[in-house]
Structures are given as C-alpha cells and as structure tokens.
Symmetry: C2
C-alpha cells in the first residue's frame, strides 16, 4: 500500500466505486479534455470498460495531487515524476535509498516555495498596515 492508493476514508484495499470522465471532470472543476490530457502524459491511467474510461479512487487521488501540484506551479512533467515516486517499486535497499533522496529533493523544493510565500505574506502585511495608517490619517485629516 502506498500514499496514492491509501484512502483517507474507511477502506484501504479496493474501493468498488467508479466514476465517469464527466463526473470526475465536473467534480474537480476541470474539463474532460484536461483529464484526457493528463492521461496522455501518463499522470493517470484509468481502467477501460471497452473503450470507455472508468475512474476509481486511486485516479481521484492522483487527480488531487495533480491539481495541487499545478496550484503550486509545478509543470505536469514534474508532477508526473512526483506522483510516480509514490508508486515506484521499493523492494531493494538501493531503490529505497533512491526514493529517499528524491524525497529530500522534493522537500527542499517545497520548503523554498514556502519561504517565498512567507515573505510575500509578510510584505503584504506590512503594506496593508501602511494602507490602514494612511486611511486613518485621511479620516482624521
């Protein structure tokens, strides 16, 4: 079991629920075209019933990771390597060590972005304070 297949809800193994492309697209606020595009790039790979795609919990979890990655400014290619990291085989020590290294790289990346955000928020706070002061001065003037 891994992060992608592990459910935040009660079940852990095979969730029988399925969704159509319209349902997931709608629910996640993207177009079916986008969902298919992610599949073309190998970020998700839903089952097929004939030619029709059927989406399971695992695919939804991946979609969540994809969209969060996008909000954070990662390109789809990066997002794929991140997602696939969670699914790589880790039977041997060498593989585990490789994955652990990747984890550290990812973490450094995320922490950098977090620092950027903290700075930006701090500047916004300062700026707001000055604006508030100006407003008060105007009201009193």
């Amino acid at each position: 079991m891994n992060l992608v297949t592990a459910s935040s809800e009660s079940e852990t193994a095979s969730d029988p629920r399925t969704w159509t492309i319209a349902q997931v697209a709608d629910e996640f606020g993207v177009t079916h075209r986008a969902v298919r595009h992610y599949e073309e790039l190998g970020l998700i790979s839903p089952e097929r019933r004939g030619t029709v795609r059927i989406y399971r919990r695992r695919d939804r979890t991946r979609l969540n990771l994809i969209l969060r990655g996008k909000r954070l400014g990662f390109v789809l290619e990066e997002i794929r390597t991140i997602i696939n990291l969670y699914d790589e085989p880790r039977g041997q020590a060498s593989q585990l060590r490789y994955v652990l290294n990747q984890i550290n790289d990812r973490r450094a990346d995320l922490e950098r972005r977090r620092r950027d955000i903290e700075e930006a928020l701090k500047e916004l706070d300062d700026f707001e304070q000055r604006c508030q002061d100006d407003l008060l001065a105007l009201d009193r003037g």
Copy 2:
C-alpha cells in the same frame, strides 16, 4: 515611498547605482530576452540613456518580485497586477479601500498555496517514514 522603491539596504530615496541588461539578467539567472519580455508586458520599465536600458534598484526589486511570483506559480499577468498594486495611487479613501481589498484577495490566494504546501510536505514526511521503516526492516531481515 512604497514597498517596491523602499530598499532593504541603507538608502531609501534615490540609489545612484545602475546596471545594464546583461548584468541584471546574469545576476538574476535569466536571459536578456526574458527581461525584455517582462518589460513588454509592463512588469518593469527601466530608464533609457538613448536607446540603451539602464536598470536601477527599483527595477531589481521588481525583478525579485517577478521571479518569486513565478516560483509560486503565478502567471506574468497576475504578477503585474500584484506588483502594480504596490505602486497604485492611494491618495483617496476609495483608492485605499480598493487596494486593501486587493490585498485581502492576494492574501487568500497565498494562504491557499501555503496550505497546499503544508499538505504536500506532510505527505512527504509520512512517505519518508514508511520508506525508512522499510529500509530498517530490510537491514534487519
């Protein structure tokens, strides 16, 4: 004085230092083409000595904001509105209130990204823990 023109160093008003496009591009790790592109979009507007661009502290500050915005996944158009926010006229109460509203929007945006990052980091931590456990089990097995 505002956030963009305010210097983190000693001086506050007019810093006499200037830079060429090659210097700033080099120093910020981007190409001159990118710098000119930001200018085309109105994100910076360096002075001219004849046809030649000359960059001052203010332009460097803006470049910093631009690149940080990019790392955070904002598109250049958004970045422009953010940057220009700091420079908008705020003489009247209505303008100040508008700016304060914008600040809140920006803050909500940034805080959303921060939550995304916290989640991603938490998942990475969990994942690393499991990998470490697996590694230990292998070493002992």
